[in-house]
Amino acid sequence: METLLILGGNPVYSAPADLDWERTQRHAKTVVRLGYHEDETFALCDWHLPAAHYLESWGDARTGDGTLVAIQPLIEPLFGGQTELEVLARVAGLSPTEPLEIVRETFRGLGLPGGFEANWKRFLHDGFLANSAARTVAMPLDWPGAVKGLAAEQVPLPDGKQLEVVFHRDYGLDDGRHNNNGWLQELPNPITALTWDNAVLISRRTAAELGVKNYDLVDIQFGNRSVRGPVWIQPCLADYSLGLALGFGRTRTGRVGEGAGFNAYRLRTAGAEQFAVGAILRATGSTYSLSCTQNHWSMEGRSIVREANLSQYRAQPHFAKAMDREAPPSERSLYPNPLDELRKRNLEKRGITQQWGMSIDLNACVGCGACVIACQSENNIPIVGKEQVKNNREMHWLRVDRYYAAGPALEASHNDMATDDSQALEKWIDDPQVVHQVMICQHCEAAPCENVCPVNATVHDDEGLNVMVYNRCVGTRYCSNNCPYKVRRFNFFDYNKRPIEGHRLYLGPLAKKQALELELLKLSKNPDVTVRMRGVMEKCTYCLQRIEQAKIAQKIKAGASGDVAVRDGAIQTACQQVCPAEAIVFGDVADPNSRVSRLKAMERNYSVLEFLRTKPRTTYLARVRNPNPRMPDYYAMPFSEAEYWRGYEVTEGKLPSAGGSAREPEETGGGK
């Protein structure tokens, strides 16, 4: 072989271990590689071409159903990188070599009726070509043949002496391509909530049998290959099965990804890319620290995430309200609500009074965490590094809480007084249910954070937002202590200015700054949002800058007409915009016809910790499960709901409608 051309990818790192890619690729005389980073493959190539990022590139692609879509650049290439199309065109000696021209040529080749330019413009405008999906054809399925074929497949059963290893691409880092991306390194895994590392995921029983516990560093030997990683006991995992995330343990990556996790590719051979049986686990005797964003797993029977089965929902649509705790008896305050005054004044002054609120549908939320990253990118939220995450100091304004709920059979094994480390040894984690909840500033109307700040740094605005005045904050942190939702984030260090890796945050002004990179990093900041300094509290603003932009745009549009009310749907918060399930809806709660108001009027609507009378503007729609009664894991009510009703008289699947802490929904009726 003369020349090997590698387009993207990082085979030296990610190729099956038995291929020994490092040596294999040397069979070619010249190795040319197009890639984003100076990575493992870069080091072993003769020529490296800088690749253009896909957001800098022209291209086209087909979706799963065959629809043609356009790839359009968002930015002029920052570093003059080349796209794959361009490189291939040059190698093949084609003309033209301009990627845009290539894409246009391809489009021209489709021979669509009508004028080319008009079609092309329409294609770019729509982003896809209508009616270009592939034809579906009916295929007969040979059921008996399939069953026979599956039965013939001989898979050895794993046990303590030959464990199964399951390789999965990491949730954030994918196959390792995003290894040097701090946002994704610090994004908590939706289930394990681990950051900055992968771990050897193992079930409680298997860990007990093998005599290992959380944070133990173990060797996993598979044939003559072995890797070393820390143990993480994962609820709900199958016995004798180890979960190993790929994408970590890169040897040549940037300063962000350096030292994060271990490389599970080293166990992965051709033909066994997904899983393999026959691994041995051996404890090394040493331990390794892991940074997890959620230390406590159980919801402790509190009505934080509320859920019911479909049959319960049908019988009692107000099931979420029935889980309200008894609130203090007083309905009226001694003093007039200053917000009402503000509203009145605003109404007089401007003729409108828009009040912002949010609804989060727990039925739709899958806990993916896209909102976490969207929020981080929109609001200039810094990453803080593994050590700080371990210390519960991550800065995410929006977090996705994940709770495990214990089944009725194993509930007794839970000790709510024990330390968080001993949870992993309790029986109930073998078979829990999992629930997710997006938790952000609730923008309480009676915000507990506001009246405790001695310097007026967190106040209410006349549109109902709980706003944070960064340059007034002196950092007493009292607001965070008094926030029942613990959604406030504190800048313990100058996370934006000082290097976070190693122990260097603790060097303070003595730590050397990475001046060059910081110049480039400025591009990642949103110019509409303040970058906060150390010693200052921060939290979700409901994307205040987007609200203001929408208001300004509406004012310009309104002109002399005075119609300055922002249209419903004109403001999308960053988290709402990316939510693939459209679980988050933001809008004007003063307008009964807005989408958010209609969602809040649904019977599933509830506030978290409503009994504190904080009157949150962010409310949740309770979750409804629809389990199949014929399945072995069917229960009359979801585990978390059963945990809550423990101690109350509850007949199969039917909730008490009054008495105890449960009350008629008419009585509660939300905040006043």
């Binding site: 230390n295 001695p454 009292y478």
Partner: protein, 482 residues
């Protein structure tokens, strides 16, 4: 009622005819032993602050000074680098700094209580201990005041907490208990210093008159404000002292009440309780007397003041500790009862978690030291055993520190949403900053005993037999004053 009144009157009439001598066991022991004369007292007490400093003083001073310097180093590191050098995190945003603040403020309660409340209540035994206790108060409040200042994320803007008129027209937020704290602590500090200083004036004049060098004469003279001991001076002095005592009395109760509102005004289970103000005040007096004993037991030995700070003084202080310790015990019990009785699951959990959760050791150390140990003072044998009293006085303050610890971080670490629960661990910077404040405290205290009379000379003279006109040794000679 009337009948009983008449009876009493008749008894009084009878006894007026023949007054029997009280039996010996009812005779109050003297507050200054061995019928020491006023001159002896002046020599003894002023002598401590005169002449060459003893070796033990130099050793103690060097250690304290170095510790204090280290503490300032820690503060410099904290402010240059960020509050992150401490162990505070979410959800425990207040850690050792606030624990230490409340602890030191508590210690600073005994001084003013002894000098003001006991003065108004005519407790004459206070005279031997009030000066040192007041000094302790002033220094403890200084140590306490350091913490809220340095725990700020941006400590350089601390003055924003004061209502200073400014061009922005922004005022502090008067609804915040932290704001009330600023006023309560600064008022308490100012009044304590004033009270202490006014009480010092006659003694400063004594020091001035005894001075042998011009420098000492100048400075003592400057601060003695031209005291001559004339009748008019004494008259004005006594009135000023009484007024200040009256002003200080409500402050003794208000400061720690206000500090406790930092917690009870919040929503947090474990903080949100109405019992806090009296509970905190009782605890503060309890810990303050603990610290007075810790300081005075070694001092009276080193300075040979056993005749002035007598076993009776120690016995009485032990009784105050027993009384306030029992109040604290009652508060603990009531907290648990109310948590149960409220029926609020969050409240119940907070208290169960305090006693049985991951920080059980803090709670039980606190309960052991504050509830069980002081009960030993029911026994006279314990109260008169100096080593035991000394150990218990230290345990009282260990217990009170633990109490603040289990109230502040332990309530925070498991609050409403289990998703944000965490386990707070202090760092070495937390520990050394706390140790540093001991350096500050002892440096100031050692300087105090070197330069100022550590017992109120003029006042203690007033409780001797020589000042009692009814006594054989009294000024009127025969005790014939009828």
């Amino acid at each position: 009622m009337a009948q009983i009144g008449a009876e009493t009157q008749s008894i009084a009439k009878e006894s007026a005819l023949s007054m029997p001598e009280p039996p010996a066991e009812l005779e109050r022991p003297a507050l200054v032993l061995n019928a020491r004369t006023p001159a002896w007292l002046s020599d003894k007490i002023a002598g401590v602050a005169e002449g060459k400093a003893p070796l033990w003083w130099w050793i103690a001073f060097c250690i304290s000074f170095l510790t204090m310097s280290m503490g300032f180093g820690m503060i410099a590191y904290l402010i240059s680098t960020g509050v992150g050098v401490w162990g505070v995190m979410r959800p425990v945003m207040w850690g050792w700094a606030i624990v230490n603040f409340v602890w030191w403020i508590g210690i600073g309660h005994a001084g003013t209580l002894i000098s003001a409340i006991l003065y108004l209540l005519r407790q004459r035994w206070r005279t031997s201990i009030n000066r040192a206790a007041e000094a302790m108060t002033v220094f403890a409040v200084m140590c306490a005041g350091t913490f809220p200042l340095i725990h700020l994320g941006r400590a350089w803007f601390f003055y924003w907490l004061f209502p200073i008129p400014n061009a922005n027209g922004i005022w502090p937020q008067f609804r915040s208990p932290l704001m009330w704290d600023v006023f309560a602590v600064s008022t308490y500090f100012t009044v304590s210093v004033l009270f202490w200083y006014v009480g010092l004036i006659p003694d400063l004049a004594v020091m001035r008159d005894r001075s042998t060098t011009t420098l000492r004469k100048f400075f003592y003279g400057l601060f003695a404000l031209g005291w001559t001991g004339s009748n008019r001076h004494w008259n004005n002095y006594e009135r000023a002292y009484l007024i200040l005592a009256g002003l200080s009395t409500p402050l003794v109760l208000s400061v720690h009440s206000t500090v406790s509102l930092d917690f009870s005004v919040s929503q947090l289970p474990g903080w949100h309780t109405t019992i806090f103000p009296p509970y905190f005040v009782a605890g503060a007096i309890f810990s303050g007397f603990g610290m007075v004993l810790t300081l005075l037991i070694p001092l009276r030995r080193f300075l040979h003041l056993e005749e002035v700070i007598t076993m009776r003084h120690i016995d009485l202080m032990c009784k105050v500790i027993l009384a306030t310790g029992s109040m604290v015990a009652y508060s603990y019990a009531m907290e648990f009862f109310i948590a149960y009785y409220s029926g609020n699951a969050y409240e119940r959990f907070a208290f169960l978690n305090r006693a049985l959760g991951p920080y059980w050791w803090a709670a039980w150390t606190g309960y052991a030291c504050n509830v069980f140990v002081p009960q030993l003072f029911w026994f006279k044998k314990v109260r008169s055993h100096l080593t035991l009293v000394f150990i218990i006085s230290i345990l009282v303050n260990v217990g009170m520190w633990m109490e603040r610890f289990f109230i502040i971080p332990v309530s925070l670490h498991r609050d409403f949403l289990p998703s944000s629960w965490g386990y707070y661990i202090p760092t070495w910077v937390d520990v050394l900053t706390y140790v540093g404040t001991f350096g500050l405290f002892f440096t100031l205290f050692l300087l105090f005993i070197r330069f100022l009379p550590l017992i109120a000379i003029s006042e203690v003279k007033g409780v001797t037999a020589h000042a009692d006109p009814h006594h054989a040794l009294g000024g009127a000679g025969k005790g014939d004053h009828s």
